[in-house]
Symmetry: C2
Subunit: 244 residues, 2 copies
Amino acid sequence: MDSLKQRRTIRKYQSKDIPADLLNDLLESACRASTVGNMQTYSVIVTRDAERKKRLAPAHFHQPMVESAPVVFTFCIDLRRFSQWCRQRKAEPGYGNFEWFVTGAIDTLLVAQTFCVAAEERGLGICYLGTTTYNPDQIVDVLELPELVFPLATVTVGWPDENPPQVDRLPLEAIVHEEVYHDYAPADIDRLYAYKESLPENHQFIAENGKETLAQVFTDVRYTKKDAEAMSKVLWETMKKQGF
Amino acid sequence: MDSLKQRRTIRKYQSKDIPADLLNDLLESACRASTVGNMQTYSVIVTRDAERKKRLAPAHFHQPMVESAPVVFTFCIDLRRFSQWCRQRKAEPGYGNFEWFVTGAIDTLLVAQTFCVAAEERGLGICYLGTTTYNPDQIVDVLELPELVFPLATVTVGWPDENPPQVDRLPLEAIVHEEVYHDYAPADIDRLYAYKESLPENHQFIAENGKETLAQVFTDVRYTKKDAEAMSKVLWETMKKQGF
């Protein structure tokens, strides 16, 4: 499992395809992930068709991986299949609500991440696209997702055509709390973010964006409050439109 | 990676403790999971203290694993640490909204599941407790979670003291959709659920609950609409209370 510690996201792929047998094997492993009540409240949409990838691209702000990866996976919350089964079995399902949106999200992400770990173990490279929760309405349209199905995570997959350096992570003491949450004193924050702030690539990042601090690159450029509030609205409305 | 396919949830643990070094090693691996903008919007609360486990137990409907596992992990969405860093760096964070609740949930669950895969690879047994999203308000209290921190997934971990049979899963064709979502015809549902419905343990489950179909055990007993609606309200209110 040393591969887990060595992992890095891959955004450039060889043009070589991925055998369907290998993908099925990875998906079989993924579906062994824990699932609430063994209900498997997820579906996976597999996009290989160039035309369909082209239609997906705008929803992902034209990140090149969508069109350059041989396969794009969209992991969706799915309470529809289970609800249909209930209705065919004289049972009245009650899964169109916020609780099951969140519970379904947990199921879905456990499968998505197990798939990714298995794929990387077999030498494939993966990239999660955070854009899925920015433009879920567009993805619903392109992938023809019906009621009680919601797109949550998109993963592009292919044979690596790059070997990027591993990016930094916060020290473990920043993440782990013993027994109860221990709030951070200003000096803790300074210490925990010191390494990240010392990195030459982050100094460059600040300069390129004409900002004073690395944090400002996040709040003013990459992930602004204004964008988040607009996306919250779309996310909420799409969740409602999909019947949750 | 055959271990992924052989995995099963473990609910009974030996009394043997787990070395802190091993847990740290697993957490280091887990934190290598993909994370949006390398922001690591999660925290992990580690519960070892018997008294604290006892206080957590009611929130998890007294499932025995909470008190019998040597260690209980609560994986939390955390936009607090990042926001504090922003404020200390002349940057105004905008992460107290629904978009970042969902984005933080994705980050959190990728770490949780990577941790579980790594733990199982090292011979540990794990169990996810779905109850975390049922009673988040109680967990917030017991673990003293401040604003912008939200408990999403609880995992009990220990050395296995049982070897249960592997449970069924739906066939892959129930989960995977090529290019677009293909809705299920009634005959599809019958075929895809046939194996599950044929299992002796599920026949017993129907009989024990005095129901006519397996689906009714879910809708009328295990996961009712009434409960889900009440839990949706608590989940929503707790999310708001925590500042999202």
